[in-house]
Symmetry: C2
Subunit: 209 residues, 2 copies
DNA sequence: GTCTATAGGTGGATAGAC
DNA sequence: GTCTATCCACCTATAGAC
């Protein structure tokens, strides 16, 4: 009961800020001091909620994965066709990028060699999830004649994830969301059975990525 | 004359180590101490050659760009067809990845927000160069009927660069070069006029990326 | 839960001897 | 060119008062 009293909660706020900081500056590019400054508290206070940076990020990853799985479920429930699902999936990326951020795991993938092991595990888990979900969508789409591609759905899914992550990173480098949108459109067109998919560009409601 | 006396030169050695460190750990993940340890000298000695970290990396970028441009020129001179050029281009990535490294600029692109401005400039310059070179190859290949793709060569080139960078990052995360090779093959197949390109996998002689 | 205070370490960088 | 010595800022983390 008393749990619902606090508005948002300090721990959640800390995770929110850490998330954004990592997405913009990377794991090795942010510190407790950055979060403390925005929250107007001392660094020591943060250690009460998260004893170590590694633990903070690990917890962040768990929350992130949960939210992301929910987003994919939501897409599955909302969109019927494979193309619609893929468009919604790409829109997840667009929403984050429009906010000046990278995919959390895309960022951490770059710094992979310097990450705590517990965090590494969650990063690969995230990509595994993406690949598996996309592979299912692609397979069903092809079976329904809605999509066309060669080889295994899993391989096509891997390339799609990698391409979107790379396009996101490049687009952010150029501070140009349109670059990413163009890439996303080309990728979906290449998967569409009949020519180009409708270039409808829907932005995600709440950024989940 | 005395210049040729020293074997390799300390400055070059420093750049070599810094390059590898950035490609594995990132700009914010390495320090003068890392280089000093390997070279068995003090940090102060490094500052004699490169007064600041920003200057060190800027100089590194200049050397890198020069070497990369030479590699593209070499490809232009060696390979006749567009597909051959693209395969050789992909092989540049493969060679670096097989050595456990990321593309230097792909890595720096992730950390873009934390980079010294002078370094940022060189990172975007690198991608501009890649896009321009690829766009030319793609355009000529399509005109010759060797390649098939829709839209502007420039847009196709951008997607290709982004996809390769993303695939490289994911493959390194999984420590699985084959993942990248599969992605590269799929990308080239998608550009090839008639079905799949020969899955000939040539590794770069000297890693230039 | 948040504070002060502080520990112990590492970061990039400089001065001046050799 | 390389060293010792040192600076100062910042980092993660802890102890203990409030």
């Amino acid at each position: 009961m008393a749990v619902a009293a606090r508005g948002a909660g300090s721990a959640q706020r800390i995770l929110d800020l850490a998330e954004r900081l990592i997405q913009v500056r990377g794991y090795n590019g942010f510190s407790y001091a950055d979060i403390a400054q925005v929250m107007q508290v001392t660094k020591a206070s943060l250690h009460y909620h998260f004893p170590s940076k590694a633990e903070l990020v690990r917890r962040l990853m768990l929350r992130y994965a949960q939210r992301f799985r929910a987003a994919l479920d939501e897409i599955d429930g909302r969109s019927a066709g494979a193309i619609g699902k893929l468009q919604a999936y790409v829109a997840l990326y667009t929403g984050v990028l429009a906010d000046g951020r990278m995919c959390l795991c895309g960022m951490l993938a770059a710094e992979f060699a310097t990450l705590p092991v517990a965090v590494r595990t969650e990063v690969t888990r995230f990509f595994d999830l993406n690949e598996a979900w996309l592979a299912t969508v692609l397979e069903q789409g092809r079976r329904a004649g809605e999509l066309a591609f060669t080889g295994q759905p899993r391989e096509a899914a891997r390339l799609l994830v990698a391409s979107l992550e790379g396009a996101m990173m490049l687009a952010r480098t150029y501070d140009d969301v349109a670059r990413f949108q163009e890439a996303g459109h080309r990728l979906l067109s290449g998967l569409s059975g009949k020519g180009a998919a409708a270039p409808r560009r829907r932005s995600a409601s709440g950024a989940v990525m």
